[in-house]
């Protein structure tokens, strides 16, 4: 037994090393003074300086944020309605609908991205921020629905009925009772939708138009242009830290909901 448990311990440590060492190496070398990716010479912030003084990075960051915000809002509204429909009402085709909503999660993103692009071209829709947003919503809505549906499964509908008996009409009941009690679920789903949109590369790559870049796209194109450089390291570390903050937020809200 003892051998088994120490083996498991070592195994776990190795899994974590495997998972995180590339990221740690990337972060360390983003502080490297020399351009070399093999030898760490001196600690320096010069690559970060280059990143923060680059207007293209700021523009991309701004784009990422507002695209993420729109995607989050729209997918929460649609996802909430979808989750409410499948958890509260029974209608024909409900089970088909419930499976259909999961499909964007399982099909390869590249296929989805390509099909979106083909559709836009077919419908003659000019590529740009709008097409990127539609593309992001098309999959984040699935995640939002799944998260919300799980939370709503245990939802006690009688609190809405109680509100009705106390004189609240349907609209008042929704805004004063339903929405506030679902708030933790909405927050968790919203942060998930935002992170997914903020991190997305493939779909953005296929659906964006000339000149419109999000942060992952800037990282991708600078890697494609100049190969891997310390500047790219620091840019990636920068993007990573933003995603990390949102992930922390999400974990915290999930924990407070679990209580």
């Amino acid at each position: 037994m003892k051998i088994m448990s120490s083996f498991l311990k070592i195994f776990t440590i190795m899994v974590f090393l495997f998972l995180y060492s590339p990221i740690i190496v990337m972060i360390i070398f983003s502080f490297n003074e020399s351009k070399s990716l093999g030898v760490f010479t001196n600690f320096s912030l010069k690559w970060y300086e280059k990143v923060v003084t680059n207007p293209e990075v700021w523009r991309a960051l701004y784009n990422s944020f507002w695209v993420g915000a729109v995607v989050t809002f729209v997918s929460i509204v649609l996802g909430l309605m979808m989750a409410m429909a499948v958890t509260r009402y029974s209608f024909s085709g409900k089970s088909i609908l419930e499976s259909l909503i999961l499909i964007p999660i399982i099909i390869p993103e590249i296929a989805e991205a390509l099909s979106l692009m083909i559709m836009y071209i077919f419908l003659n829709i000019p590529l740009g921020p709008v097409t990127v947003i539609i593309g992001h919503i098309a999959f984040s809505i699935s995640y939002v629905t799944v998260v919300m549906r799980a939370r709503m499964a245990g939802y006690d509908k009688s609190i809405e009925e109680a509100a009705r008996t106390l004189g609240a009409n349907e609209l008042q009941t929704f805004f004063r009772i339903t929405l506030p009690t679902l708030y933790p679920a909405i927050l968790a789903a919203g942060l998930l939708a935002f992170t997914l949109s903020f991190d997305d590369l493939i779909k953005t790559l296929f659906t964006t138009g000339p000149g419109f870049k999000t942060l992952p796209l800037v990282i991708w194109s600078s890697a494609a242009r100049g190969g891997v450089s310390p500047e790219l390291n620091s840019l990636s570390s920068f993007a990573l830290s933003i995603s990390f903050i949102f992930a922390l937020f999400r974990l915290r809200t999930e924990r407070s909901v679990g209580r």
Binding site: I159, E161, A162, R164, T165, L166, G167, A168, T181
Partner: protein
């Protein structure tokens, strides 16, 4: 002058798919009455209550509140209060906001809300807990908040859907007395749904017994206990009942598989059941002054504190006898003892079957 009823249901019918949950129910509930709907689970009592609240729409029939047809009036425009089975307190609000919700919906001025919530908390004896979160309260306290929330809007009718079900026995017994007192004090019609006959018997002015969506009998607790209108009510109410089926001929004499049974005067004729409550049966070795007498063997004797429950086998039929006022061990019949049981014909009742 025709009497105005607080709630009136006329031929109300409700289907769920192929199941008729409420089957042509007629009810006339008087003002300030404590009225219970009692029946086994699935008998349609909760659906009936929800129809009164407007939370279910009847397929047929009319619902009236104080003489006014409200069949098509939505829940939030009916002046009713409701206490739900699982209480349904608003989890994101404290005690004050829970109770004040109905008043806010009615756009009551702030000062008045404060005063009324305070009064409501006094009625349910929860003074000073305004700022508590509802999940910090005990089961009994949550119960009281739910009650205060429904009462504070001064409803014409208060509907209660098995509100004591989740509480443990001691608190439940206490709340029964409390509820009845509150009902007297606030002078409101209470309609109480329960499957627990003790609750219904303790609090109600009148009880409607339901089964399979139909009302079996409406009456005071005494009436339904001593004058059940059918064998279902007879066996559903009370701890136990003895029913002997037979055919009543001339002179109130019934022929049964056990022999002749003498029934009370003016009994119905034909196929019937004679009902004897366990406490009306006498047990002994040499009984006199009884109209019906049978010999049997004690099968079980269970000591229940204030009485002994005997199960006596009479030619394969089991009679349940409750013997009160036991004075000493000599009268305790152990299983296997040959005994006589009997009853006066006037302590029994004949029921059509």
């Amino acid at each position: 002058m025709s009497e105005i009823y607080s709630v009136e249901l006329i031929d109300v019918l409700k289907r769920f798919g192929n199941v008729v949950a409420v089957d042509h129910v007629n009810l006339k509930i008087r003002e300030n009455e404590f009225f219970s709907l009692l029946g086994p689970s699935g008998c349609g009592k909760t659906t009936t209550l929800r129809i009164i609240a407007g939370l279910e729409e009847p397929d047929e029939g009319i619902v009236k509140l104080y003489g006014e047809d409200v069949t098509d009036v939505p829940t939030h425009k009916r002046n009713i209060g409701m206490v739900f089975q699982h209480l349904a307190l608003f989890p994101h609000m404290n005690v004050f906001d829970n109770i004040a919700f109905g008043l806010k919906m009615r756009k009551t001025p702030k000062e008045e809300i404060k005063r009324k919530v305070k009064e409501a908390l006094e009625i349910v004896k929860l003074e000073g807990l305004e700022n508590r979160r509802v999940n910090q309260l005990s089961g009994g306290q949550q119960q009281r908040v739910a009650l205060a929330r429904a009462l504070v809007i001064e409803p014409e009718v208060l509907l209660l859907d098995e509100p004591l079900g989740a509480l443990d026995l001691k608190i439940r017994q206490h709340m029964m007395v409390e509820l009845k007192n509150i009902q007297r004090r606030v002078k409101t019609t209470f309609i109480y749904v329960t499957h627990d006959q003790t609750e219904a018997m303790t609090m109600s002015d009148r009880i409607a017994i339901m089964k399979d969506g139909r009302i079996q009998q409406i009456g005071t607790p005494l009436e339904i206990y001593y004058r059940p209108s059918n064998t279902f009510v007879a066996s559903f109410i009370g701890e136990a009942v003895n029913l002997i089926i037979g055919e009543i001929g001339e002179n109130n004499v019934m022929n049964t598989s056990l022999g002749t049974v003498y029934c009370p005067e003016q009994s119905i004729k034909g196929k019937a059941a004679v009902m004897v409550r366990p406490e009306m049966l006498e047990i002994g070795e040499n009984l006199s002054q009884v109209d019906n007498l049978f010999k049997g063997i004690v099968q079980a004797a269970i000591f229940k504190g204030s009485y002994i429950e005997y199960r006596v086998d009479v030619q394969g039929t089991i009679f349940i006898v409750h013997k009160h006022g036991i004075d000493g061990m000599e009268k305790f019949y152990t299983p296997g003892t040959l005994v006589e049981i009997g009853w006066k014909k006037n302590s029994s009742l004949t029921i059509p079957v």
